[in-house]
């Protein structure tokens, strides 16, 4: 029981670290496209880790199945939303930031 809690805690802490990284990336990156990289991506792994931690904590039951479903739907919805947002920006003529333009 205690070992299970420790594993869950480690997984959730690593997940929180990735959430923090995506927030820092959102603030540091220069333009819309690069910011989409930070928010749309680190979130996917962070959600997977936090939810896995919660599943480990709960054990196998109906609640943990629902948590797994949350992961599945986020993994379908997140890249689609990222793609749609960046496509909208691209079609509106937003120029991607490049190294030499600064």
């Amino acid at each position: 029981m205690v070992i299970r809690d420790i594993i869950a805690m480690i997984l959730i802490l690593i997940g929180c670290f990735f959430f923090l990284t995506s927030a820092i990336g959102l603030l540091r990156f220069p333009d819309m496209f690069t910011r989409m990289h930070a928010t749309g991506k680190c979130d996917t792994l962070a959600v997977l880790l936090v939810m896995t931690g919660l599943i480990v904590h709960h054990g196998i039951n109906l609640d943990s199945f629902k948590l797994l479903l949350i992961v599945v739907f986020i993994y379908i919805a997140n890249p689609t939303a990222t793609h749609v947002l960046s496509r909208a920006a691209y079609r509106l003529g937003m120029q991607p930031w490049t190294k030499d333009k600064k």
């Binding site: 990284t21 990336g25 990289h37 930070a38 680190c42 996917t44 997977l48 990222t82």
Partner: protein
């Protein structure tokens, strides 16, 4: 004519069963009131939207594709973890060593489902975003040159081809 009609009814029935099992899994209340609400809702939704779930392909090929797709997921998760660590290094490095670029990537995938899987897989693996798909050319935004090189080796595309080939 007769056969297509019975297939049409089977389509509604399978959609109804899928939705109802999903309802039962999610609700967690197994009394007459909640189950009858579930049956009503699932019947209505499957009447309205069975065409969305089964538009063209037959059941047998779906079955194979789902099996292969489940095998593809662990590899994708592994790629996501690898690439996420790379992005974390970029975000936390004191000097932002990013070199964003947009490049095009031709694909030989034919069906919409395969292209969607490919586009979403590219977006899921950090460092690359699919901006647009026109016919068989993908416009991809990459955070740095090495992410673009990883994608252009074509390993992900090969794996998706093996999922969807008949």
């Amino acid at each position: 004519m007769m056969k297509t009609k019975s297939m049409g009814r089977g389509k509604y029935f399978i959609t109804f069963l899928l939705l109802l099992s999903f309802w039962l899994l999610l609700s967690g209340h197994y009394d007459l009131f909640h189950i009858s609400i579930g049956i009503g809702c699932c019947a209505l939704v499957s009447l309205l939207s069975a065409d969305l779930l089964f538009d063209s392909a037959s059941g047998a090929t779906h079955h194979l594709v789902i099996g292969k797709f489940l095998l593809y997921i662990p590899w994708l998760v592994y790629q996501i973890i690898l690439a996420n660590i790379a992005v974390v290094k970029l975000v936390l490095s004191p000097k932002l060593k990013i070199d964003p670029r947009v490049f095009t990537c031709k694909t030989s995938l034919k069906t919409d489902v395969a292209k969607t899987t490919y586009g979403n897989s590219i977006t899921l693996t950090p460092g690359t975003i699919t901006i647009d798909i026109k016919d068989d050319v993908l416009y991809v935004h990459a955070l740095a040159g090495n992410f673009a090189d990883d994608l252009l080796t074509g390993e992900m595309e090969k794996r998706i081809i093996t999922i969807f080939q008949r």
